[in-house]
């Protein structure tokens, strides 16, 4: 089986833009915004599960980054630093919406056993083609929203946005083993929950 290919492409010279932005070049900062706003929006919507909140997070995260550029030392990538700001802003939004619940990346109610595969069913060869695009998006969105925030954040950064394990750990303030453990559990839980939509049916029929 071949390894999963990352979709992350070449990034424009981020450090040059950051240097220029630091010395007051707003045009350079604008390019950084254009480079990353779609990614930040996706991450924010995955965490907050709410579009208006995600829009606020994009604005607040970039503004905070702009105000604190002077403190960015360049030891990590600008994008990783920006993601860290955005994740914190998104978690704050989530806390405000759900004051009765504990919202934290450390939310770890479930044990290892909860992520152990229960149902082993083979999927259709092209599961994504079983549904039209809108239906598929609805299913994927519903399923991932059911994961605890700590799991879905790690999954989104690693598998959707293509950050490395090290970058994810840095952006979330977690250890590398913690990122790996959450990623495995997130992947297995998503797989389990997608079973009912994607499993191959002997009679070729499917119910939705």
């Amino acid at each position: 089986m071949e390894a999963i290919q990352s979709k992350r492409g070449a990034v424009a010279d981020e450090s040059t833009l950051v240097q220029a932005a630091k010395s007051g070049d707003l045009g350079a900062f604008e390019q950084l915004v254009k480079l990353y706003d779609r990614n930040i929006f996706r991450i924010a919507q995955h965490i907050t599960r709410n579009r208006e909140d995600a829009e606020d997070v994009v604005q607040d995260a970039f503004l905070k980054a702009y105000e604190n550029l002077g403190q960015f030392q360049g030891q990590s990538k600008f994008y990783t630093w920006l993601v860290r700001i955005a994740v914190n802003e998104a978690l704050m939004k989530l806390r405000r919406r759900r004051p009765d619940k504990i919202v934290s990346l450390d939310e770890n109610i479930e044990t290892e056993e909860d992520s152990m595969p229960r149902e082993v069913a083979d999927w259709s060869p092209n599961p994504a083609q079983l549904y039209d695009q809108a239906q598929l998006k609805q299913i994927l969105s519903k399923v991932i929203q059911g994961l605890p925030p700590g799991f879905r954040t790690v999954f989104v950064l690693r598998d959707v946005e293509g950050l490395s394990t090290e970058e994810t750990a840095e952006a979330l303030g977690l250890s590398i083993p913690a990122v790996k453990s959450r990623l495995l559990r997130a992947r297995l839980q998503l797989r389990e929950r997608l079973n009912k939509y994607f499993k191959a049916r002997e009679d070729g029929d499917r119910s939705k």
Partner: protein, 88 residues
């Protein structure tokens, strides 16, 4: 390698960050254990489906208005910095 041991190595295996020896033990297990093969295959599909899903794409018109709002606020910040405090 047992099924439980395989599960522990699954992330590194799917990400291609596994050492050669563990990889060969794992692939040997996949050759005879159908359940693990299915779990491995469907987990890989899960990651690929989400990665390719274009879930929560930012619509272009919203993107433009967000960018404008961000830059407007940045300009305001700059102005505030440059203006001397009137009541100082």
């Amino acid at each position: 390698m047992t099924c439980k041991e395989l599960l522990k190595e699954l992330t590194d295996y799917l990400d291609g960050t596994i050492d050669d020896r563990t990889r060969s033990e794992l692939e040997d297990h996949l050759n005879w254990c159908h359940d693990c093969f299915v779990i491995c295959n469907t987990t890989k599909m899960t990651v690929e489906i989400y990665r390719d899903s274009r879930l929560y794409e930012l619509p272009e018109n919203l993107r433009t208005s967000l960018e404008n709002a961000i830059l407007k606020k940045c300009r305001q910040k700059e102005k505030q910095k440059k203006q001397p405090h009137r009541n100082a």
